[in-house]
Structure formats: C-alpha cells, structure tokens
Amino acid sequence: MTPELTVLALAGLLQAVQFVLMSVPANLELGVGKTLSPRDRERLGGALEDQLSAKTARLLRALNNHFEALILFTLAVVVVSLSGQSTALTAACAWIYLAARIAYIPAYYFGLSPWRSLIWMVGFSATILMIVASLL
C-alpha cells in the first residue's frame, strides 16, 4: 500500500466527516419533514439548499467542492500506485492535498478570504502535479 493510497483512504473518511458536519445542522435547521421528503421544489417553496443558514450552506458547498476534488485526486492516486510510480514527490503532494482539503473547511465556514481560494489552489495544484508526474 503506497502512502498515496493511505491518504486516499483518509480523504474518503474526510468526505464522510464533511457529510456529517453538513447534514447534522441541515437537519436541525430544516427539520426531517423536509429533508426526508422527496424535496420537490413546489412543495418546499424553492430548492432545499437555498433554505439553509449561510454557514450550513457554506459547509454544503465545501462538501460538494470536495466531491469534485476527490474525483481528480482518486484518479491521480490510483494511477501513481498502479503504475508503481510512487515517489517522495507524489507522496508529499498527496499529504499536501489532504492538509489543504482539511484547512478548506474552516476557511469556507468562517469566510476567510482570500485564504479559502488559496487553500483550494494548493490542493488543486498538488493533484495536477501528481497527474503530470505520472505522465512523465
């Protein structure tokens, strides 16, 4: 098991943690009557995500953002590991990715600008660097 795969497993757990961080306040705010329903807009009077408080909506956007980042990161990790191209550089990139994605959550929640964007850029660059490294 390469260090990148370990980080990938941790990133998967982070996704689960982010889901809980979002879903607990979301259910408290909206009530299970709304969240367990089929969420039809006409019945709820608009999209469910628009009815969240500002901070919970930030947690939802942070969760969705990690979904996208994770798809690219998974691809990078699996290819690096499968092709036996794991190096100190790709392992470092993986850990940097995880650190950035963890820091991204409070940065979003507390509205830290421009840090959220910079942290996002760090995670994104680390992923792209891994992909480029395994292509070379």
Partner: protein, 129 residues
C-alpha cells in the same frame, strides 16, 4: 500493469483540470474578485460562454467519475485489449471535442460527441465485466 487506457485516463483528468483552471481564470476576468474570494453566500449564475464552460466542466467531471472504474478494473486485471484501447481513445476524442462544442454552442455536435463518449464508457464496462 500500466495500460495505455490508464494514460488516456490521466490525459483526460488533466484536460478536466485545465478546463477547471480555465473556468476559474474566466471568472477572474468577468466576476469581480471580491465575490470570487468571498464565501459566495449569494448564488450567482455564470452567463454566456463562461456558463457553458461551467456546464461543460460539470459534465466532464461526471464523465470522469463514470469512466474511471472500468479503466482501473481493466488495468488491475490485465484485461487490456485492442477493443478496450479503442473505446478509451474514442472516449478521449469525443470528450475533447465536447468542450469547444459546448463553449461555442455548436448544436448537434455537442450531443453527438457526448453520446459517443457515453457509449464508449458503456463498452468499457462491458469489456471490464
């Protein structure tokens, strides 16, 4: 274990990453920096070519999530064949055309190449199974 399909997957991942970079760059130019760096509490929809790039990106990410499993399974089981390589190549070509077809609003072509990419994905699942 490194198959040519994996290289194609990597190239496609890179293209998706570049499209994401292009979208962010486009937002830097058209949307004000303050909003971009803010927590985006107010939902703004992107318009025109940037909106199309955004939708093309979302579609590309969905396609990436779907194509990755069969390519990885084929590589893991050493099932790579001329057919699976061809399907992966068709997928990549289709998805590369898809982006400008969407951004420049070429009707018909966009749907055509999307369908080609989708069927290539299904064929890869079939081959992997």
């Amino acid at each position: 274990m490194f198959s040519d399909e994996l290289s194609i997957l990597l190239v496609y991942g890179l293209i998706t990453g570049l499209l994401l970079g292009a979208k962010v760059t486009g937002m830097l130019v058209t949307v004000d920096m303050g909003y971009l760096l803010s927590s985006r509490d107010e939902n703004r929809t992107l318009e025109g070519m940037l909106g199309r790039a955004d939708r093309a990106l979302n579609n590309s990410i969905t396609a990436l999530a779907l194509i990755a499993p069969p390519i990885l399974v084929i590589a893991l089981r050493d099932q790579s064949s001329a057919n699976s390589l061809l399907a992966a190549q068709v997928f990549l070509a289709a998805r590369v055309i898809y982006i400008p077809a969407y951004v420049f609003g070429i009707q018909g072509l966009r749907t055509l190449v999307w369908t080609a990419g989708f069927f290539a994905t299904l064929i890869l699942y079939f081959l992997a199974l």
